[in-house]
Symmetry: D2
Subunit: 110 residues, 4 copies
Protein backbone atom coordinates (compact mmCIF):
# COMPACT_ATOMS: atom_id res chain seq x y z
CA UNK A 1 0.00 0.00 0.00
CA UNK A 2 1.25 3.49 -0.80
CA UNK A 3 2.41 5.78 2.02
CA UNK A 4 -0.55 8.16 1.65
CA UNK A 5 -3.09 5.35 1.48
CA UNK A 6 -1.47 3.88 4.57
CA UNK A 7 -2.08 7.18 6.41
CA UNK A 8 -5.65 7.29 5.14
CA UNK A 9 -6.27 3.72 6.28
CA UNK A 10 -4.96 4.59 9.77
CA UNK A 11 -7.10 7.75 9.92
CA UNK A 12 -10.24 5.93 8.76
CA UNK A 13 -9.66 3.16 11.31
CA UNK A 14 -9.23 5.78 14.08
CA UNK A 15 -12.41 7.49 12.90
CA UNK A 16 -14.50 4.34 12.54
CA UNK A 17 -13.50 2.94 15.95
CA UNK A 18 -15.15 6.10 17.35
CA UNK A 19 -18.13 5.98 14.97
CA UNK A 20 -17.45 9.56 13.86
CA UNK A 21 -18.27 9.12 10.15
CA UNK A 22 -21.79 10.34 10.92
CA UNK A 23 -20.40 13.85 11.69
CA UNK A 24 -17.92 13.94 8.81
CA UNK A 25 -19.89 15.52 5.99
CA UNK A 26 -17.54 17.03 3.39
CA UNK A 27 -18.78 20.51 4.38
CA UNK A 28 -17.84 19.89 8.02
CA UNK A 29 -14.49 18.37 7.00
CA UNK A 30 -13.72 21.50 4.96
CA UNK A 31 -14.65 23.60 8.02
CA UNK A 32 -12.43 21.41 10.20
CA UNK A 33 -9.54 21.90 7.78
CA UNK A 34 -9.93 25.68 8.11
CA UNK A 35 -10.09 25.50 11.89
CA UNK A 36 -6.94 23.34 12.09
CA UNK A 37 -5.15 25.63 9.61
CA UNK A 38 -6.02 28.59 11.87
CA UNK A 39 -4.62 26.77 14.92
CA UNK A 40 -1.40 26.34 12.99
CA UNK A 41 -1.45 30.02 12.02
CA UNK A 42 -1.85 31.01 15.67
CA UNK A 43 1.63 29.58 16.38
CA UNK A 44 3.03 32.48 14.29
CA UNK A 45 0.85 35.24 15.74
CA UNK A 46 2.47 38.36 17.25
CA UNK A 47 5.96 37.01 16.60
CA UNK A 48 8.73 36.62 14.05
CA UNK A 49 8.51 33.96 11.38
CA UNK A 50 11.12 31.67 12.94
CA UNK A 51 9.85 31.97 16.53
CA UNK A 52 7.08 29.36 16.28
CA UNK A 53 7.41 26.21 18.41
CA UNK A 54 8.41 23.48 15.92
CA UNK A 55 6.97 20.66 18.03
CA UNK A 56 3.57 22.36 18.02
CA UNK A 57 3.84 23.14 14.29
CA UNK A 58 4.37 19.40 13.73
CA UNK A 59 1.22 18.58 15.73
CA UNK A 60 -1.00 21.19 14.08
CA UNK A 61 0.29 20.22 10.64
CA UNK A 62 -0.72 16.63 11.43
CA UNK A 63 -4.25 17.86 12.29
CA UNK A 64 -4.41 19.73 8.98
CA UNK A 65 -3.36 16.59 7.10
CA UNK A 66 -5.83 14.47 9.08
CA UNK A 67 -8.69 16.67 7.81
CA UNK A 68 -7.31 16.94 4.27
CA UNK A 69 -6.78 13.18 3.92
CA UNK A 70 -10.26 12.42 5.27
CA UNK A 71 -11.79 14.82 2.75
CA UNK A 72 -9.76 13.24 -0.07
CA UNK A 73 -10.90 9.78 1.08
CA UNK A 74 -14.55 10.90 1.07
CA UNK A 75 -14.30 11.64 -2.65
CA UNK A 76 -11.78 8.85 -3.40
CA UNK A 77 -9.44 11.55 -4.68
CA UNK A 78 -5.94 10.17 -5.28
CA UNK A 79 -3.81 12.72 -3.42
CA UNK A 80 -0.54 12.08 -5.26
CA UNK A 81 -2.01 12.54 -8.73
CA UNK A 82 -4.09 15.54 -7.57
CA UNK A 83 -0.91 17.37 -6.51
CA UNK A 84 1.04 16.29 -9.61
CA UNK A 85 -1.80 17.48 -11.88
CA UNK A 86 -2.06 20.82 -10.04
CA UNK A 87 1.68 21.41 -10.40
CA UNK A 88 1.36 20.82 -14.16
CA UNK A 89 -1.55 23.29 -14.30
CA UNK A 90 0.39 25.86 -12.30
CA UNK A 91 3.48 25.38 -14.46
CA UNK A 92 1.42 26.56 -17.44
CA UNK A 93 -0.18 29.39 -15.43
CA UNK A 94 3.15 30.62 -14.05
CA UNK A 95 5.79 30.06 -16.73
CA UNK A 96 9.32 30.13 -15.36
CA UNK A 97 10.36 33.04 -17.61
CA UNK A 98 7.70 35.47 -16.39
CA UNK A 99 7.32 34.26 -12.80
CA UNK A 100 10.94 34.10 -11.66
CA UNK A 101 11.50 36.08 -8.48
CA UNK A 102 8.05 37.70 -8.58
CA UNK A 103 5.46 37.59 -5.80
CA UNK A 104 2.78 39.23 -7.93
CA UNK A 105 0.46 36.28 -8.18
CA UNK A 106 -0.84 36.37 -4.62
CA UNK A 107 -1.66 33.02 -3.11
CA UNK A 108 -1.98 31.21 -6.39
CA UNK A 109 0.07 29.03 -6.14
CA UNK A 110 2.65 30.58 -3.92
CA UNK B 1 11.92 7.66 -2.48
CA UNK B 2 8.70 7.65 -0.48
CA UNK B 3 5.50 8.94 -2.07
CA UNK B 4 5.31 12.02 0.17
CA UNK B 5 8.98 12.88 -0.31
CA UNK B 6 8.42 12.50 -4.05
CA UNK B 7 5.65 15.12 -3.87
CA UNK B 8 7.83 17.40 -1.78
CA UNK B 9 10.70 17.05 -4.27
CA UNK B 10 8.37 17.98 -7.14
CA UNK B 11 6.98 20.97 -5.19
CA UNK B 12 10.45 22.23 -4.22
CA UNK B 13 11.64 21.91 -7.83
CA UNK B 14 8.57 23.89 -9.03
CA UNK B 15 9.28 26.51 -6.38
CA UNK B 16 13.00 26.79 -6.99
CA UNK B 17 12.63 27.06 -10.78
CA UNK B 18 10.65 30.25 -10.01
CA UNK B 19 13.02 31.44 -7.28
CA UNK B 20 10.11 31.74 -4.84
CA UNK B 21 11.89 30.47 -1.71
CA UNK B 22 12.64 34.10 -0.82
CA UNK B 23 8.89 34.71 -0.18
CA UNK B 24 8.25 31.41 1.60
CA UNK B 25 8.84 32.25 5.23
CA UNK B 26 7.05 29.75 7.48
CA UNK B 27 4.70 32.54 8.64
CA UNK B 28 3.69 33.28 5.03
CA UNK B 29 3.37 29.56 4.27
CA UNK B 30 1.01 29.18 7.24
CA UNK B 31 -0.97 32.17 5.91
CA UNK B 32 -1.03 30.59 2.46
CA UNK B 33 -2.34 27.34 3.93
CA UNK B 34 -5.22 29.26 5.54
CA UNK B 35 -6.02 31.09 2.32
CA UNK B 36 -6.07 27.87 0.30
CA UNK B 37 -8.19 26.16 2.97
CA UNK B 38 -10.69 29.05 2.70
CA UNK B 39 -10.82 28.68 -1.11
CA UNK B 40 -11.70 25.04 -0.54
CA UNK B 41 -14.35 26.03 2.01
CA UNK B 42 -15.90 28.45 -0.46
CA UNK B 43 -16.85 25.47 -2.67
CA UNK B 44 -19.36 24.50 0.06
CA UNK B 45 -20.75 27.97 0.73
CA UNK B 46 -24.52 28.58 0.50
CA UNK B 47 -25.17 25.00 -0.53
CA UNK B 48 -25.66 21.46 0.67
CA UNK B 49 -22.72 19.34 1.73
CA UNK B 50 -22.75 17.13 -1.37
CA UNK B 51 -23.26 19.94 -3.90
CA UNK B 52 -19.61 21.02 -4.17
CA UNK B 53 -17.88 20.54 -7.53
CA UNK B 54 -15.58 17.54 -6.99
CA UNK B 55 -13.11 18.60 -9.70
CA UNK B 56 -12.62 21.93 -7.98
CA UNK B 57 -12.37 20.26 -4.56
CA UNK B 58 -9.55 18.13 -6.00
CA UNK B 59 -7.72 21.26 -7.21
CA UNK B 60 -8.13 23.26 -3.99
CA UNK B 61 -7.14 20.24 -1.90
CA UNK B 62 -3.96 20.03 -4.00
CA UNK B 63 -3.23 23.71 -3.18
CA UNK B 64 -3.73 23.00 0.53
CA UNK B 65 -1.31 20.07 0.33
CA UNK B 66 1.18 22.16 -1.66
CA UNK B 67 1.35 24.67 1.21
CA UNK B 68 1.33 22.01 3.94
CA UNK B 69 4.12 19.97 2.32
CA UNK B 70 6.25 23.09 1.76
CA UNK B 71 5.87 24.03 5.42
CA UNK B 72 6.79 20.49 6.50
CA UNK B 73 9.83 20.60 4.21
CA UNK B 74 10.94 23.92 5.74
CA UNK B 75 11.22 22.24 9.14
CA UNK B 76 12.25 18.83 7.77
CA UNK B 77 9.19 17.40 9.49
CA UNK B 78 8.52 13.82 8.39
CA UNK B 79 4.85 13.97 7.46
CA UNK B 80 4.07 10.27 7.82
CA UNK B 81 5.45 9.98 11.34
CA UNK B 82 3.88 13.33 12.35
CA UNK B 83 0.42 12.00 11.46
CA UNK B 84 1.05 8.58 13.03
CA UNK B 85 2.26 10.22 16.26
CA UNK B 86 -0.73 12.56 16.37
CA UNK B 87 -3.15 9.66 15.93
CA UNK B 88 -1.49 7.91 18.89
CA UNK B 89 -1.82 11.10 20.96
CA UNK B 90 -5.46 11.49 19.98
CA UNK B 91 -6.18 7.83 20.71
CA UNK B 92 -5.18 8.49 24.33
CA UNK B 93 -7.09 11.79 24.41
CA UNK B 94 -10.27 10.29 22.95
CA UNK B 95 -10.54 6.69 24.21
CA UNK B 96 -12.89 4.57 22.13
CA UNK B 97 -15.15 3.80 25.11
CA UNK B 98 -15.96 7.42 25.97
CA UNK B 99 -15.78 8.95 22.49
CA UNK B 100 -17.95 6.57 20.48
CA UNK B 101 -20.66 8.40 18.59
CA UNK B 102 -20.05 11.71 20.37
CA UNK B 103 -19.28 15.04 18.69
CA UNK B 104 -18.59 16.76 22.01
CA UNK B 105 -14.91 17.38 21.48
CA UNK B 106 -15.21 20.13 18.87
CA UNK B 107 -12.49 20.22 16.26
CA UNK B 108 -9.98 18.18 18.23
CA UNK B 109 -9.50 15.88 16.41
CA UNK B 110 -12.82 15.61 14.70
CA UNK C 1 -31.07 54.69 14.95
CA UNK C 2 -27.58 53.79 16.11
CA UNK C 3 -24.72 53.70 13.58
CA UNK C 4 -24.34 49.92 13.77
CA UNK C 5 -28.06 49.27 13.49
CA UNK C 6 -28.10 51.61 10.50
CA UNK C 7 -25.45 49.44 8.82
CA UNK C 8 -27.38 46.30 9.69
CA UNK C 9 -30.59 47.78 8.26
CA UNK C 10 -28.79 48.62 5.00
CA UNK C 11 -27.24 45.13 4.81
CA UNK C 12 -30.55 43.39 5.50
CA UNK C 13 -32.29 45.52 2.86
CA UNK C 14 -29.56 44.63 0.33
CA UNK C 15 -29.94 40.98 1.24
CA UNK C 16 -33.73 40.89 1.17
CA UNK C 17 -33.98 42.69 -2.18
CA UNK C 18 -32.05 39.69 -3.55
CA UNK C 19 -33.99 37.10 -1.53
CA UNK C 20 -30.77 35.69 -0.13
CA UNK C 21 -31.98 35.01 3.43
CA UNK C 22 -32.74 31.43 2.35
CA UNK C 23 -28.97 30.76 1.97
CA UNK C 24 -27.89 32.63 5.09
CA UNK C 25 -27.93 29.97 7.76
CA UNK C 26 -25.71 30.95 10.68
CA UNK C 27 -23.33 28.11 9.78
CA UNK C 28 -22.94 29.45 6.23
CA UNK C 29 -22.57 33.02 7.52
CA UNK C 30 -19.76 31.87 9.82
CA UNK C 31 -18.16 30.14 6.81
CA UNK C 32 -18.57 33.31 4.76
CA UNK C 33 -16.90 35.34 7.51
CA UNK C 34 -13.89 32.99 7.38
CA UNK C 35 -13.69 33.19 3.59
CA UNK C 36 -13.83 36.99 3.62
CA UNK C 37 -11.23 37.11 6.41
CA UNK C 38 -8.94 34.94 4.26
CA UNK C 39 -9.39 37.28 1.27
CA UNK C 40 -8.25 40.10 3.54
CA UNK C 41 -5.30 38.01 4.72
CA UNK C 42 -4.28 37.36 1.11
CA UNK C 43 -3.54 41.09 0.72
CA UNK C 44 -0.60 40.58 3.12
CA UNK C 45 0.73 37.35 1.61
CA UNK C 46 4.37 37.11 0.47
CA UNK C 47 5.02 40.73 1.43
CA UNK C 48 5.88 43.12 4.24
CA UNK C 49 3.23 44.20 6.71
CA UNK C 50 2.86 47.73 5.32
CA UNK C 51 2.84 46.72 1.64
CA UNK C 52 -0.84 45.78 1.42
CA UNK C 53 -3.08 47.89 -0.85
CA UNK C 54 -5.12 50.05 1.56
CA UNK C 55 -8.01 50.49 -0.86
CA UNK C 56 -8.40 46.72 -1.14
CA UNK C 57 -8.02 46.30 2.64
CA UNK C 58 -10.93 48.74 3.03
CA UNK C 59 -13.07 46.64 0.64
CA UNK C 60 -12.25 43.28 2.19
CA UNK C 61 -12.75 44.67 5.70
CA UNK C 62 -16.22 45.79 4.56
CA UNK C 63 -16.97 42.23 3.39
CA UNK C 64 -15.86 40.88 6.78
CA UNK C 65 -18.14 43.35 8.57
CA UNK C 66 -21.01 42.53 6.19
CA UNK C 67 -20.84 38.87 7.26
CA UNK C 68 -20.26 39.66 10.96
CA UNK C 69 -23.17 42.11 11.13
CA UNK C 70 -25.52 39.67 9.34
CA UNK C 71 -24.60 36.96 11.82
CA UNK C 72 -25.16 39.33 14.76
CA UNK C 73 -28.54 40.32 13.27
CA UNK C 74 -29.54 36.65 12.96
CA UNK C 75 -29.19 36.24 16.72
CA UNK C 76 -30.28 39.80 17.57
CA UNK C 77 -26.92 40.24 19.27
CA UNK C 78 -26.26 43.88 20.17
CA UNK C 79 -22.79 44.41 18.73
CA UNK C 80 -21.79 47.38 20.87
CA UNK C 81 -22.58 45.69 24.18
CA UNK C 82 -21.03 42.39 22.97
CA UNK C 83 -17.69 44.15 22.40
CA UNK C 84 -17.91 46.18 25.63
CA UNK C 85 -18.67 43.01 27.63
CA UNK C 86 -15.80 41.09 25.98
CA UNK C 87 -13.36 43.90 26.78
CA UNK C 88 -14.44 43.72 30.43
CA UNK C 89 -13.94 39.94 30.41
CA UNK C 90 -10.53 40.29 28.80
CA UNK C 91 -9.52 43.02 31.25
CA UNK C 92 -9.96 40.48 34.07
CA UNK C 93 -8.21 37.74 32.07
CA UNK C 94 -5.25 39.93 31.15
CA UNK C 95 -4.61 42.29 34.07
CA UNK C 96 -2.52 45.30 33.09
CA UNK C 97 0.22 44.45 35.63
CA UNK C 98 0.98 40.99 34.27
CA UNK C 99 0.17 41.55 30.58
CA UNK C 100 2.09 44.74 29.84
CA UNK C 101 4.38 44.33 26.86
CA UNK C 102 3.92 40.56 26.69
CA UNK C 103 2.74 38.60 23.63
CA UNK C 104 2.50 35.35 25.58
CA UNK C 105 -1.22 34.93 25.38
CA UNK C 106 -1.46 34.06 21.72
CA UNK C 107 -4.55 35.27 19.93
CA UNK C 108 -6.60 35.77 23.06
CA UNK C 109 -7.24 38.69 22.88
CA UNK C 110 -4.22 39.96 21.13
CA UNK D 1 -18.56 60.38 19.26
CA UNK D 2 -20.07 57.82 16.90
CA UNK D 3 -20.87 54.35 18.19
CA UNK D 4 -18.14 52.67 16.14
CA UNK D 5 -15.51 55.25 17.08
CA UNK D 6 -16.55 54.76 20.70
CA UNK D 7 -15.81 51.03 20.38
CA UNK D 8 -12.50 51.77 18.67
CA UNK D 9 -11.54 54.21 21.47
CA UNK D 10 -12.32 51.55 24.09
CA UNK D 11 -10.34 48.91 22.20
CA UNK D 12 -7.33 51.20 21.70
CA UNK D 13 -7.36 52.14 25.40
CA UNK D 14 -7.47 48.43 26.36
CA UNK D 15 -4.59 47.76 23.96
CA UNK D 16 -2.45 50.71 25.01
CA UNK D 17 -2.83 50.02 28.74
CA UNK D 18 -1.13 46.67 27.95
CA UNK D 19 1.44 48.17 25.58
CA UNK D 20 0.41 45.74 22.84
CA UNK D 21 0.65 48.13 19.86
CA UNK D 22 4.19 46.83 19.28
CA UNK D 23 2.77 43.41 18.26
CA UNK D 24 -0.13 44.76 16.23
CA UNK D 25 1.28 45.03 12.73
CA UNK D 26 -1.52 45.01 10.14
CA UNK D 27 -0.29 41.61 8.91
CA UNK D 28 -0.61 40.15 12.42
CA UNK D 29 -4.00 41.83 12.92
CA UNK D 30 -5.23 40.24 9.68
CA UNK D 31 -3.92 36.88 10.96
CA UNK D 32 -5.66 37.45 14.29
CA UNK D 33 -8.93 38.21 12.48
CA UNK D 34 -8.66 34.86 10.67
CA UNK D 35 -7.91 33.00 13.89
CA UNK D 36 -10.87 34.57 15.69
CA UNK D 37 -13.13 33.88 12.70
CA UNK D 38 -12.06 30.22 12.87
CA UNK D 39 -12.87 30.07 16.60
CA UNK D 40 -16.33 31.32 15.72
CA UNK D 41 -16.61 28.72 12.95
CA UNK D 42 -15.67 25.96 15.39
CA UNK D 43 -18.93 26.62 17.28
CA UNK D 44 -20.78 25.22 14.24
CA UNK D 45 -18.53 22.22 13.63
CA UNK D 46 -20.03 18.69 13.48
CA UNK D 47 -23.50 20.03 14.21
CA UNK D 48 -26.62 21.59 12.75
CA UNK D 49 -26.70 25.26 11.91
CA UNK D 50 -28.93 26.24 14.84
CA UNK D 51 -27.12 24.14 17.45
CA UNK D 52 -24.30 26.61 18.19
CA UNK D 53 -24.17 28.12 21.70
CA UNK D 54 -25.41 31.70 21.24
CA UNK D 55 -23.52 33.03 24.26
CA UNK D 56 -20.27 31.75 22.82
CA UNK D 57 -21.14 33.08 19.35
CA UNK D 58 -21.60 36.51 20.97
CA UNK D 59 -18.12 36.28 22.56
CA UNK D 60 -16.32 35.07 19.45
CA UNK D 61 -18.09 37.65 17.30
CA UNK D 62 -16.80 40.30 19.72
CA UNK D 63 -13.25 38.97 19.23
CA UNK D 64 -13.69 39.17 15.43
CA UNK D 65 -14.89 42.78 15.72
CA UNK D 66 -12.04 43.62 18.10
CA UNK D 67 -9.51 42.58 15.44
CA UNK D 68 -11.46 44.17 12.55
CA UNK D 69 -11.86 47.51 14.35
CA UNK D 70 -8.16 47.58 15.34
CA UNK D 71 -7.18 46.98 11.72
CA UNK D 72 -9.56 49.73 10.53
CA UNK D 73 -8.09 52.08 13.15
CA UNK D 74 -4.54 51.32 11.96
CA UNK D 75 -5.43 52.67 8.51
CA UNK D 76 -7.90 55.29 9.79
CA UNK D 77 -10.53 53.60 7.64
CA UNK D 78 -14.02 54.90 8.43
CA UNK D 79 -15.94 51.67 8.96
CA UNK D 80 -19.43 53.03 8.30
CA UNK D 81 -18.55 54.55 4.93
CA UNK D 82 -16.45 51.49 3.97
CA UNK D 83 -19.51 49.24 4.38
CA UNK D 84 -21.88 51.71 2.69
CA UNK D 85 -19.50 52.04 -0.29
CA UNK D 86 -19.10 48.27 -0.59
CA UNK D 87 -22.87 47.77 -0.59
CA UNK D 88 -23.13 50.28 -3.46
CA UNK D 89 -20.40 48.41 -5.35
CA UNK D 90 -22.10 45.07 -4.74
CA UNK D 91 -25.48 46.48 -5.79
CA UNK D 92 -23.98 47.16 -9.22
CA UNK D 93 -22.21 43.79 -9.30
CA UNK D 94 -25.34 41.85 -8.29
CA UNK D 95 -28.34 43.62 -9.81
CA UNK D 96 -31.61 42.66 -8.13
CA UNK D 97 -33.11 41.36 -11.38
CA UNK D 98 -30.40 38.79 -12.10
CA UNK D 99 -29.41 37.91 -8.53
CA UNK D 100 -32.78 37.26 -6.92
CA UNK D 101 -32.91 33.89 -5.26
CA UNK D 102 -29.61 32.72 -6.75
CA UNK D 103 -26.61 31.46 -4.78
CA UNK D 104 -24.41 31.30 -7.86
CA UNK D 105 -22.01 34.02 -6.88
CA UNK D 106 -20.17 32.11 -4.17
CA UNK D 107 -18.93 34.21 -1.28
CA UNK D 108 -19.13 37.49 -3.18
CA UNK D 109 -21.00 39.05 -1.47
CA UNK D 110 -23.21 36.38 -0.06
Amino acid sequence: MSEIRDLQARILRFRDERDWAQFHTPKDLAMSLNIEAAELLELYLWKGSEEADVGRVREELADVLYAALLLAAHYQIDVHSAVVDKLALNARKYPVETSRGSNKKGSEPG
